[in-house]
Each structure stands twice: as C-alpha cells, then as structure tokens.
C-alpha cells in the first residue's frame, strides 16, 4: 500500500509527455517518469521515493519499438526484458537481461527502467556498454542520439525532465562471440554477487561488471590488462583486482573478500570460455 496521494498519467506522444513533465514542474511539484513501474511501486510503499505525478512512458509509440531498422537494432525504453529476450534480436542482451529478477517480474521490468534504476546493478547496461550502443533521449523539443558511453558514468546522466526513448545497436556486433556470467548468493533469482559480460571484437576482449563496485562499469585499463597476452592469465586477473575503479561492495549479497574470490573465478571462466588462454 502506497500511503501518499499521487496522480498517474499515460500520455500517448513525446510532446505530451514532456509538456506534462514541465507543467508539473512549473507548479512546484515533483513529476517522475516510469516505464515498468516496479521500482516506483516497491520504493513508494516504503517511502523510499516520492512523486506528486507519475508519467508513464509506456503510451509513447517510440518507446515501444523493438525491431531491426536498416543496420540497427532499435529497442524502445519501455520494452520489457522478456520481450527483448524472446525477440532474439540481440542474443547477447537477451541472455544478460534473462538473468535479472524472475520471469514474472521480467514481464514488467523494462530496459529503460533497469538502466535508470536507483539500485546499483543495472545489469542490462553491461552488454550495451560493450557494443558501443547509442541512446536516443529527449529534453524539451530537443531529440538527440548520443553514445551511451557519453551519458553513462556510474549512472545515466540525464538532466531533470530528460527522457530515454530508445537504445540503438549497430547490428555488426550481433554476431560477435559473447558471454554473460552471473553469480548470486544461492538462488538463481537474486542480485548479483558478481555479474560479468564480455565480447570478443577483433581478438580484443571487452568486459563490463556489475555487483563488483557500487555501480556498473566498463574500464579501458582493465581491458588492457586482460588483453595483455605477455602475462599469465592468473596474474592478469590479480592485476585486474588491483585496478578496480573503486572498492568492492560489501553487503548482504556477499562480503568484500568473498566478492573478490568470486570475481577471480568468474574472470577465469570468462577467459576460458572466450579462449583467451596463453
């Protein structure tokens, strides 16, 4: 039960959505976009989030696209994780998001909601960072397509009122070898202790992490280390652990020390699966 009163709207166009957001804002009230709404509902009932007005982006046609357009895969921000997996348009992304939550929740959770989640995991971002995805965002009347990398630093750097519309992936990445490995506390359904996604492009390994630090990341330094075939693999992995962008998370899912143990093992598995051996 959500105890506070709020208004709910589901506009059917981008303009209407933006106007509504700005209108609410001008009245000094708090507006919030939602797509799947699962995070909003679960946080609101424990007062971890508040809004006077909820603007549901699921009515916007652009946010519901899921198709190949010329040489691009285009995924609307309001598309559910299950739809992405089932479409098989981009198997790497499909496999990664299939490890998030449980089947029933994935019917509701959207990719836009996952990328913009308040939680530290945002696992769907991992493959997207590796394939140089672009995102289409709108603010006011200004629609722009930019690289995800330029907007994502620990989290999406959207300004207030800015809306994520679509994710665009160059189809040349689709055929690349990939792996997506997630370790949880015990049950398959759970937040990651460590989640790692990797692809091989032109014999170079690209890797992104979630659950390791308190944000998802991809790091040039780490990739350089892992691709350095002059060093034995175990040493490369040790070196990666010394070059993480911040300290390892220590929480209910796993202690810091345990997470580093798991990370080493998962990296070994990644290297083996991707045939990166010496």
């Amino acid at each position: 039960m959500i105890s506070f009163d709020f208004m709910y709207f589901q506009p059917s166009s981008i303009t209407e959505t933006i106007d509504m957001y700005n209108g609410v804002h001008e009245q000094g009230e708090k507006a919030m976009y939602i797509s799947g709404g699962t995070e909003f509902i679960t946080f609101a009932r424990t007062n971890k989030v508040y809004a006077d007005v909820i603007i549901d982006s699921k009515g916007i046609p652009e946010c519901n696209v899921l198709e190949m357009r010329n040489d691009d895969v285009v995924i609307g921000a309001a598309v559910s994780l299950n739809k992405i997996t089932n479409s098989n348009l981009f198997p790497f992304l499909g496999a990664t998001v299939k490890q998030i939550a449980d089947h029933t929740s994935r019917n509701k959770i959207t990719i836009g909601g996952n990328i913009n989640s308040e939680l530290i995991y945002k696992e769907s971002v991992l493959p997207l960072l590796l394939v140089d995805a672009r995102v289409k965002v709108v603010k006011g009347t200004d629609v722009r397509v930019v690289s995800l990398k330029s907007l994502f630093d620990r989290k999406m750097k959207l300004s207030p009122g800015e809306l994520l519309l679509q994710i665009i992936i160059d189809s040349s990445y689709i055929e690349l070898p990939y792996i997506s490995l997630k370790r949880t506390k015990f049950s398959k359904v759970g937040y990651p202790v460590v989640s790692v996604a990797a692809i091989l492009k032109e014999n170079q390994l690209r890797v992104a992490f979630s659950g390791v630090c308190d944000y998802p990341f991809r790091s040039d330094e780490i990739e350089a280390i892992l691709n350095d075939s002059t060093i034995p693999i175990v040493d490369r992995i040790d070196k990666v652990l010394g070059n993480l962008p911040s300290s390892i998370v220590d929480d209910l899912q796993g202690s810091r020390e345990y997470r580093s143990f798991v990370l080493k093992n998962v990296l070994l598995d990644v290297m083996e699966e991707m045939e990166m051996g010496e």
Partner: protein, 781 residues
Amino acid sequence: MANKSWSTVGKPEQRIDAVEKSTGKVRYIGDYSAPGLMHAKLVKSTQAHAKIISIDTTEAWKMPGVRAIITGKMFPFHIGPILADRPPLAFEKVRYYGEPVAIIVADHEHQAKHATEKVKVVYEPLPIVNSVQQAFLKDAPLVHDNAEQYTKIISDVYPKASTNIGSHIKIRKGDFDTAWANSEETITATYSFNLSDHVAMETRSTRVEINPAGKVIVHSCSQSPFTIKKVLNQFFNVEVGDILVHIPMVGGAFGGKGTVQLEPLAYLASKAVGGKVVKLEFDREEDMTTAPCRIGFDATVQLGVTKEGKLVAGKYTYLLDSGAYSDQAAGITRAAALDCTGPYNIPNVWCDSYCMYTNHPFATSFRGYGHPELTFAVERTMDQLAEKLQMDPLQLRMINGIKPGHTTPTQTVLTANNIGDLEKCIHRAKELIKWDEGQKVQSGKNKVRTKGISTFWKTSTTATNAQAGAIIIFEADGSVNLNCAAIELGQGTKTILGQILAEKLGMDMNKVHVTMEVNTQYDPHQWRTVASSSTFLAGKAVVFAADHAIAQLKKTAAVVLQCSPDDLEVGGGRVYLKPDPTFGVDIKDISLGYTYPSGHSIEGQIVGIGKHIQRHLTPMDQQTGFGKPGPWWSVGVQAIEIELDTRDFTYSILKGVTVLDGGTIINPMTATQQMRGGMYMGLSYATSEKFVFDEQGIVQNSDLRGYPMLRYGEQPTEYLVDFIESPAIDGPFGARGIGEYGVIGAPACLANSLSIAADVELNELPLTPESIWQKKKEGTK
C-alpha cells in the same frame, strides 16, 4: 500396508480445493472489502530495545480519515499462549524491531498508513541482547525484568528470575555422567541454526467487529480459532460464548498463524471505533518482523559410544532464540528436549533446553516445531562420530535406531503401534539414493558428487486434552456434509477427512461435501490445526461420526426393510441386506427420515456426531522430564545428493529422497506433495534463509528484496518420495500424522553431503557458497 479392499482411503484423490484455488477464485481474508469497513495500521518500533519516553500523536490526529489512535497505555497487560509475557502493544519499553507501538484506525488503509508516519515516538535506547550466547551470560542486559512474575498459562514453563531464561526444560534419564566416563569413544560438537521466517504466501490478516448485541465477530487467517476465543476471553474479559470466529481457507501458515497476535489488536481497534468492522492486514515487511518468526537455535551435542558404535550416553544443550517474547518458543524448548536424541536408543540422556529471550523478533511454531533444528545438530554429530569410528554413517544409524520396547528421553515406552519402523525407512532410503554406489565420487573437473543422509522423528506434542469433533448431516439426495474445525491451510486436511468419511460410508468422494470455512459457532471444538495432528484427531472424530450415522441409517433401514440393523450394511449410497445386497433402500430415501406411501414418516434425519480426545498424555516432570508427551512418533529418513564445484563452492542439489513411516497413508498424492514441499522448504532455509541483524538488533532484510529464499523451480532435479506404512492401530485407518515431517531432515542431510564434498565440517546454517568458502578458509589456516 494399504488395505486393497479400500476404495477411497489409500487412493490419490484430487484435492477438493484444487479447482477453486487454481482458478484463483478463493477469497482470502485480505480480499474482503465492504462499505464502512475501517482499516487499522500499526506504528512499529524502530528500535530493538528501548524505553518509550513519549508517543506524540498530535500530527497523526490531524490526518484525513483518522478515527482512533490506540497506544499501549490503553491496554497495559501481557498475553501469551504459554507464558503471558507479551503486551499486544508495547508499553514502557520496546523489545524488538518492528514491535507494535500504536494502532491507527482510519476510513481507508492508505490514510491509516499515512497517519502512522506522523506519530512521533521518542525512545531511550537500552543495551541490546543480540544473540542467545550473549543472553545466557551472567551479567547480560535483561529483556524482561521480572519474567518469573508473568502468569503461566500452561504448567510446563519455568522462567528464571534475573536472567534471560524464559524456560528451562530438563531431561534426566539413566546416569549420563557414568556412561560418558565409560564411553570408549566420544564426540562433542556445536551448531547454530539461524532465525528465519515462515513467508507464507498470504500475509496475516484479520477483521473484527463488536456488534450491537455485544458479540465479538472475528474473521481471520488463523490456525487457532478456539485459541482466539480463549485469548479474548482470558485477557479481554469477553464471554467465550459471545466470541464468534470464522476462518476461510488460509493461504499457507507453516505454524506462523497459530499465534494470536492480530486479533487482539483488531479487537482493540474495533472497540475504539464503537465496534465497527476493522480490518488489519500486514504488509510483507510486517508479516516478516512484526509478526512472529522462526526460532534461532544453538546446540552442543555430546555422544558417547562403545567401540562397536553402540550409543551409551547423550548430552544435549539447546539454546533457543525465542526473541523478545516466549510465545510458542517455550513449547518448542520442551518439544526439542523430549525428542532431543533423534530416533536413537540411548540409555543415558541428559538434556538442558533453554528458551532464551533476546531483542530479536519473537518466535513461534514453525513446521517441525524445533525438530529440523535438533535433527541438524544430532545428525551432523552422527556423521562426525561415524567418521571417528571409521564406520559407514548408515550403519551407525542402523545399529542405534530406536524400536518398539525402547524408551524415549522422557521414558515413554515405545510399542509397534506408537512408533514407525525406522529400519525399513533406512533400507528404502538407501536403495533410492543408491548409497551403495558410493557416498563421494569425482564427477568432473573440480566437481564432486556426494550423498548425505538424515534420520528423523517427531511426536505430536499437543495439549493433554487436545481434541476434535465432527458433525455430519445429510442432503435429500443422500449426499453428506462434513463439518469440522480442522483448517485448510494448503496441507489438504479437508480432502483427507472427506476421504475418511467416504470410505466409512462406502460413498464416492463426490457425494461428500466438506465445509471449507470454519465457524466456531457450529463446528465442534478442535484444539488447533497444528502439530501434524488433524488427520489423527479430526480423522478419528470423523470415523466416530460416520459410525454414529451408520447406526442411525441401519436403524431406519431395518424398519423399512423389516429386519434387524445387524443384518444390514451401508455402501454405494444404499443400506442393504448383507446376504442379499440387491435387497435394500437408498440412503436418499431415509437420510431425512423415511416416508411411507401413506404419508406417515419415521425416524427423521440422520445426524452423525463424533469426537476424539487424546488419551493418557501427561505433562513432563520438572526435574527429569518423565512423562508421556505425545500419542505416537512418525519416523523417517531423508537423503540428498549434491554436486559441489570444489573451486568456487557453488553447488546444485541433484536428488532428494524422503521415506516416511506415518502409518497408513490416506492419500499418497497429497502425502507426496507434503513431503516434497516440506523438503523444499527445509532446503530453502538450509541454503538461503536467514534474518541478518546489525549491532543494534535491527533486521537488515525484512523484505523479500533482501531476504533470500528458493524460488519455484529450484527444487532438486530428482525428487523421490516413498512411504513405509506400519499402521497405528488406534489411528484412523491406521494413520499417524505426516504434515510437518518432510521438512525435518532436509537441513541435516544437506549439511552432511556438503561437509563430505567440501571436506570440512559445516555446522552452521545457511550453507551458501560464501559460508562454505569461509569455513574452508578457516579450516586451511
């Protein structure tokens, strides 16, 4: 073995609630709404142990829709099922995080909830008792200052002044000290079993009204309708006859809905708004921490044996984390003591079982009632002992298995009727898990497969006067209605009782209508639907009710057929002459009395009544534990095969086996479901479930985001269940209880298999890859 001439008993009849449930049509308590219904929400403690300095409700009163605010000062009394130590609303101080501090009644649920956020409570923190070991220390802070002064509701409870001991149960059988001194091999080990939650799908919910005539009408999802009456009478001075309790189908309970917590709160709420109907429904977080959870358990087990592996001495120290109030933990303390040895024949037994107060959420019954916990400790010790003796762990269990002629720790003499056949269970489980193919095999690079086993037993520790009754009435078409206060909580009890009645009357199941709802005004008294006791107690009541109806049917039919009642038999919807079954009368023609062509009528309707009360049960002697605590012991064996990755300690459960001797199995399909569901539940808390507390005693994972459990689909790949059916002569068709049993051995056999696989003793739950890694690390240092 099942009697082949039975037509319904022993058959896999479909559960009578299956269609309604699978189509989503069942209305649970929380589904109810009606105009004028008011809603109560709780203000809960944010501290685990603190003085309440003040409660300021000014702002809350200003919120829309608020009709009443109740605080602990308005009912400063203690209630409880065994020891009355718990105020329904905290007053003076709070003793756990999540404890109810105030109730707000409003027109709408969100209004009530919103207003609770405006209540300002000022606390003065007190030192926290955050573990049973700490609680046990000499100068530990006291959770209750004068526990010894609380009113005892049941005799077997012994709070100790100036300590955190809520009860201490002793077993003294034989001469432990001498036997221990003379043992040729000994082992001592300690264990710890975490606090966890029931997590029934349906959260607890109730609604209460006080009608203008002064009747208190309660609707609740409870396992204890008659206890609700008792509590409202005992502590709130309402005449027992003025309290009406309705229980619809319950969406899972697992013991957690045996406690009477919400009903008194909703009663106070209704009273505060002039008797209007007030609904109190717990959110998941409240259901997990405000409502009672499962005990925590620390154990030290000492076993002494001969060189040949014959157990001669056993000493057991059990510390139960009962949390802030003793509730059923006091009873579990007793249950753990009286079955302390597991199903083994040990002549010299010493047990100290302590119910310890801490500043954790309070604990109540949970499927197994202390037995999964004690079995974990005992069965881990048996495995470690077998290793010391260099003996096959199964062989060690076989040598010591308890049998008719032996006595239990409380010195009850066992007979072929009151205990199942453990040896047969061991043999069957051994076959099913393929024990002889090896307990540990390498199954791949960094992979080992291992098998672990656990025996278990449990008696049903009911009140000594626990009882049930049944009433059967007939329809004009000869079909029959069964009314009985056993509650359907998903365990299938109503189906089982229907089968017993159908068998007795020789009728088809579809001619037996079992009333699902329980109503204390027309259902005969039943103790409670707990302790795996309903098949036995209510089943026997149904048998007697059927006999009573049969006698009446025969009497009427004898007049109609002009013969003696002794000449007659009932079956197939008819009453007929034994020597010539074609000569008879349909039940439909006599069920509401027989009417002659002339219009004259005789005998009137058939009403069958039946009842059963436990016989020869006694309390336990305070000094030695001597007594007869339960009517029978069901026994069983569980086994598990796992595969462990020895590099990263992830593992999967490949196979689960349960073999139970619960006497005659009335319905093999529902019984199998019970064993599977039970084992799965046991595996969930053995692998995952655990409340985490910070240093202030605050629960860190009081929601399902943070509280891990197994999900549907994560059961063992292969899941075998079998039954040994040594009938209990005095049970209905030879049945004993089975409801809780599937859960009991699961944690122990998981820990046994993983200890072998990881090559380290794993004596703490839950067993996550991280906890195994941690133990390995400590072990190799």
